[in-house]
Symmetry: C2
Amino acid sequence: MEPKKRTEIATLGQFGLIDRLTKDFPQQHSSTLLGVGDDAAVILPQADETMLCTTDSFFEGVDFDLTYFPLKHLGYKVVTAGVSDILAMNARPSQITVSLGVSAKIPVEALQDLYEGISFACKEQEIDLVGGDTRASMTGLVITVTVLGHAPKERITYRSGARLHDLICITGNLGAAYMGLQLLEREKRVLSDVKNPEPQFKGYEYLLEKYLKPRPRTDIIEALAEEKIQPTSMIDLSDGLASDLMQICKSSKCGARIYLDRIPIAQQTTALADEMHTDPVIAALNGGEDYELLFTVPLAMQEQVMRLGLVDVIGHITAESTGAYLVTPDGQDIKLKAQGFPEEA
Amino acid sequence: MEPKKRTEIATLGQFGLIDRLTKDFPQQHSSTLLGVGDDAAVILPQADETMLCTTDSFFEGVDFDLTYFPLKHLGYKVVTAGVSDILAMNARPSQITVSLGVSAKIPVEALQDLYEGISFACKEQEIDLVGGDTRASMTGLVITVTVLGHAPKERITYRSGARLHDLICITGNLGAAYMGLQLLEREKRVLSDVKNPEPQFKGYEYLLEKYLKPRPRTDIIEALAEEKIQPTSMIDLSDGLASDLMQICKSSKCGARIYLDRIPIAQQTTALADEMHTDPVIAALNGGEDYELLFTVPLAMQEQVMRLGLVDVIGHITAESTGAYLVTPDGQDIKLKAQGFPEEA
């Protein structure tokens, strides 16, 4: 994992380190008046627009395992996670801050890899790195990103706007990131005693990419705007379909029925689940980290939404009293449960 | 440190925990359209104003020691640190996000203490808690705060605006927080083997308060606005006078001369330094965490600044080529060095 050249962080000092890491970040967004280099960043809001702000943290050993997570990809992924929260409000990202806690065991070159991934993602999303700090951590790597975004007030889509009979829409496919993680964990276990491990990933490259380098669905937000589709509610799929759909139900005070045979699952996800004797639907419902979007639209918009060619309709919104259910092909109703989330009455 | 009642975090779950911690946060700032509870917070910028954004992280064992740092005070202090960065731009804070990494050993009641301190500081500063997340950490407590603020564009004060002959001004006094930390560390060392330790803090209460519960200098920003004084440059004193003044010099491409006998040092700081056989000036120059403000104004504003009654003029800006010096009462020039900061040529 570690590159050959090894510069100790201590040789640069805190400020030298930040200078080194942030030198390759061009200013791209017109609203950024001042990025890094002062006590705070300065942003000129777009006329008549609201600003959005979201924060996410990632802890080594909990959220990622550096034995198989390349730092470049990790940098890319933390940007995706933050950007995805802004997209889920039907808004556009514009700035990001990145705070690091690093242990002395991490060399400068490794942090440069991390920042290369962050830089790549920032360029792709046309957002500016405008701040952050780098501190010593007693243990592993800790990354906190804050992403700022903007949108006209009337465009913002909350979790709370789903209404009775609205269609429940999903982008992409679900469970792939979770199965990618299972694959990496399996190879780590199997090869833990092997000297020059050669993990077997053939045929599952898509799953690895979905877990290690997920792309935020900026294309969806653009397509919705182009087609003048205003979702009634939206959330990004970071905790798994069940948990995230229940968040919509909780905020919108509604129930939901989704149909198992309509949940989009990639062929590689099913293949690996079969190989590992697990159920791909469980991966889709509880896996998380797909960074796809879950949103609702009025029933009358069905045709318009289908025309996008990017979305699957997997169910509809029901009355709050009926709860949230998964309907199996043979007509069984299974009550949805969110892991780590107190079930609604 | 730990309260008697002990609720494990696992019994609440991530979402239940966030609900519990954030229930006592009223929405106070008119620009907050939506706080916690969705993918991102929504903020309506003040008309014709810029927005500011700053991030700070605090790691247990590096930035604070929970054996003597009460969690309520820690909550207060992390807000101060973030708010202070916004004030240092001559701007006002309006929103904050708080991300936590917590190990399972920390009970819910301890986090409630932390949030009580955060809440108290937010009410005092009239800012809104609008987001954050709470994640498992493999080790100690990690706190990251992001503070948003606002100011008219023409009011913003950068580090880069200091000009030749400008006066260098300091609020409050320096080195007190550092000596407070030395006192706490000494008592911890002395009492490490004692069963019911009774640390001796008498006569040094001010030093403890400056270290454990520093107040952001919002009053200064208000006084400057009232007196229509626009500083040419400003920074908050978080890394120590030497390091922070050299940041101004670096950004403004200038030198500086400050006079040792004009550096404001509190009586308790001098007394404890004497007792511990250290130099109070070293505490003032390199101590940090005072969260006072360092700013420059044109020479012509001397009288106006002195009228505030809140500020000491400790020196003036010189040409870049002359460097940054501390002048002793007997006329010696000592070149300033910033700890952990690569010295300028």
